[in-house]
Symmetry: C2
Subunit: 316 residues, 2 copies
């Protein structure tokens, strides 16, 4: 069980690190040898999932589930599921046919270590594993609801759709349809990220609510889900704007990947479209919106306010 | 609703074709434009799913759900879900980093038409869509159970694990672990196919049972699931042995792909290990086992007996 996170803990970052370390333990427990599972496949899955990372999405599950104050909530399987989806998306995004990245979280990418074939399959296995964990860990009502929410967030209208859109703007062959707009606007960029990173972030928060209310044998009320969704939309964009800023301004060491690679590849970014100062202002505004929304969830949601702050002020 | 399939229909192939055409209609209905779904992504998904195909796995869902004789069963979402998984696995298997195939079901493969990046993402989207369809189409109990069964069949211990094993025997770089056996035996090959093709076939049958009993608000009894699982194991292997035989003996036109490509690539096959005559005998034996198992399910399961026959006698 997640311990109650109280407002008066003075160091949000230490709470974060503590939670992230517990998430890592659960992730590792979820990825153990099983009958019929090839050793090298499990290795590749573990290599990618257990690479040092922020664990943002699992922590959103934890903080959202905590916001409602119910005892006996078990947010861990949902927390693992969203990280499996995130990890799979990174493996596939890094492939030569996609972003062609050699470095991720400061280490060689999955296909650099295990080859492209196994990297593709490790991604597929993690994507599938996310649904297995949800379906087997919760009462049927919550399990089915979590699967549906995650599938929508991760699928063709959500995260995968956003990635396609990103590649389309990059001019990747075969991806851009004939009626695709030629010149990107900030609206296009927001829409893209609202899916590419935002959709899974929003799903993570809603999964937290679903598993929390499942402990009371009921579904979360629609208005609470809507607040979490809006909060997620704001921090999702804030997170992306900050990522883009870090790519321009950051140091290779703290970003754990090559700096300036977005511009180098002609990637569509907020600093590229808005300039650095306007991008910083946008991040601040999104953070404020998010905090206002989180405040409507009551005192147990205070860490969600701290998290919004942290996301735009981080340096990696 | 699936109409009652009666034993006295004299032409199993015409039943099959009729069901496959209904499956196609449902597949197409499941893959319609949605908010946020890029046009080209949907195109790539539809291109692969709606390519001419046998629809074996959906038909297994239909025949298994029909075997129990309950009215008001809705097998279609489950039938679509297993075909989405199958279609995604073909897209990813055909990629240059995997089997590197240009032709599939007589048409250019997905990555040949849409590029590698979109092909990878269309596969990811279809895999995700399978769980969405299951989670949203059934009462929670059956929905969660279907998601769990499908995830196990399609994941690291099932279909994906089998594909990894297949690549390992092929000597694909990075895939074979250090303690991997050097010389393949028939046992290794059976074990490989029991996962690569068998696992999804077994899941399809069990999904049929789950959605059928869901119409009665209950779970299928364990012994019935076990019979379906064993039946699936036998027809799965029979199907693969026949596929291997068709690759050696078949014509390019009827196979819809290049003939002799397995041998050309050093793929592990039954004719390669056992010889052609022994492989034919094995297929016949597996067919008999399957029929014996299906006979235990009662008269409504007769089409499952016909299907076993058809799978080993087909010429494409």
């Amino acid at each position: 069980m997640l311990q109650k996170i109280s407002m008066d803990q003075d160091n949000f970052l230490s709470i974060w690190k503590n939670l992230a370390s517990k998430v890592d333990t659960h992730l590792s427990t979820c990825l153990q040898p099983q009958d019929g599972m090839p050793v090298r496949l499990l290795e590749a899955m573990r290599y990618s999932v257990l690479a040092p990372g922020k664990r943002l999405r699992p922590i959103l599950v934890l903080l959202a589930s905590n916001a409602f104050g119910f005892e006996n909530t078990n947010p861990w399987p949902a927390a693992c599921a969203v990280e499996f989806i995130h990890a799979y998306s990174l493996i596939h995004d890094d492939l030569p046919a996609m972003d062609d990245d050699d470095l991720r979280r400061g280490r060689p990418t999955c296909h650099k270590v295990y080859g492209e074939a196994l990297a593709i399959l490790a991604g597929d296995a993690l994507l599938t594993k996310a649904f297995e964990v949800l379906a087997k860990s919760y009462p049927a009502l919550a399990g089915a609801e979590c699967c549906l929410e995650l599938a929508k967030g991760a699928g063709a209208s959500g995260m995968v759709g956003g990635q396609v859109e990103d590649l389309a703007w990059e001019g990747k062959p075969g991806v851009r349809g004939e009626d695709h707009p030629k010149e990107p606007t900030v609206k296009h960029l927001k829409n893209l990220h609202d899916r590419k990173t935002g959709a899974l972030i929003r799903s993570s928060l809603k999964l937290g609510a679903i598993v929390s209310f499942a402990s009371q044998n009921r579904k979360p009320p629609e208005d609470l889900l809507q607040i979490l969704d809006n909060y997620g939309q704001n921090i999702g964009l804030a997170f992306q704007v900050t990522d883009d800023l870090l790519d321009v301004l950051g140091k290779c060491e703290s970003a754990g990947k090559r700096v300036g690679k977005d511009a180098q590849k002609g990637k569509l970014t907020y600093p590229g479209l808005l300039g650095i100062e306007q991008s910083k202002l946008l991040a601040g505004e999104l953070c404020k919106n998010a905090q206002h929304l989180a405040s409507q969830l009551g005192p147990n949601a205070a860490p969600l306010m701290d998290l919004a702050d942290y996301l735009v002020s981080r340096d990696h």
